[in-house]
Amino acid sequence: MKLEELRKIRERAEAELRLRGGTSRVKIVVGMGTSGIAAGARQTLRALLDEVARRGLKDVIVTQTGEKGLAAQEPIVEIHEPTRATIYGEVDEAAVRRIVAEHVVNGRPVTERVVEVREVKG
């Protein structure tokens, strides 16, 4: 393992972090339970990390959780924003790219894939 590489990554990333100064705007959660994994949630999580990195979205966090209890609609992806949480079903790699482009970047949910929307009371 080339641990010295990490020092350089840290220097670059910290400089970038200082420039931005802000906190995250969107949190994306992927359901990674057994049924999610069997339905392709690994590829979904990977595509999300990839797409967020490729677009340089610095205010987006990608994370994962266990079973969501929506087995028929896996892989499940939740988009958490300050005022609402949007639950998407059957999110494959192509859907990931659309959701990131249309929803996360432009704020317009991809309605045909939405399973549920919850308003968050601030």
Binding site: M1, K2, L3, E5, L6, R7, I9, R10, R12, A13, E14, L17, V30, M32, G33, T34, S35, I37, A38, R42, L45, R46, L49, V52, A53, I61, V62, T63, Q64, G66, E67, G69, A71
Partner: protein, 183 residues
């Protein structure tokens, strides 16, 4: 449904995460013709009265799920290749799942992409440390997220450059330990 061994591995890690583990050890070893997959955690553990039932496909503790196929399916697959699978409580709490597969057995499922499976899990589990140990008859190769985090400070593991580093590093380890599909 679960097609490759990497998928089983993801399932085991997810079980550990759900049990509230703070440290998860993932061990892959190819020794004397046996592939061993071990996932060991310091999570809540499985209560004694449930332990006898974890291999029952219709037993689950998940509130909204009706069946829990992960472990029974893994055990069945292991046994079909002349291997076996065990679930053992760890001293001081936590659980260790150990599955063995005969590497050359025609029914052994493909290994699948272990790197692309593990890295996203490692990177998106804040507060959980992972140790990945890869070995064959000659070498043992180690990756510790704690060691990596110490050097990264506040930079998260899901930072794109760190993801890339993790993938490259883990891939080197898989190669070093000969964990590669020949077919």
């Amino acid at each position: 449904m679960i097609e490759d061994l990497a998928m089983h591995l993801a399932d085991l890690v997810q079980n550990s995460l759900r049990a509230g583990a703070r440290h998860i050890v993932v061990r892959l070893a190819l020794q004397e013709g046996l592939l061993q997959i071990v996932v060991s955690d310091d999570g809540a553990g499985i209560p004694q009265h449930d332990l006898a039932q974890v291999m029952d496909p219709f037993f689950t503790t998940k509130e909204r799920a009706r069946i829990g196929l992960g472990l029974p399916l893994l055990a069945q697959t292991a046994e079909e290749t002349g291997g076996r699978c065990s679930v053992t409580p760890r001293h001081g709490g936590g659980t260790e799942v150990r599955a063995q597969f005969r590497w050359d057995h025609p029914d052994r499922p493909p290994l699948g992409d272990v790197v692309e499976t593990l890295v996203p899990l490692l990177a998106t589990s804040p507060g959980v440390e992972f140790t990945v140990e890869l070995s064959d008859d000659r070498v043992t190769w180690l990756l510790s997220t704690r060691e990596i985090r110490e050097r990264l400070g506040d930079v998260p593991l899901h930072h794109p450059e760190v993801l890339c580093f993790l993938e490259n590093t883990l891939r080197e380890g898989m190669d070093a330990a000969g964990l590669k599909e020949a077919r």
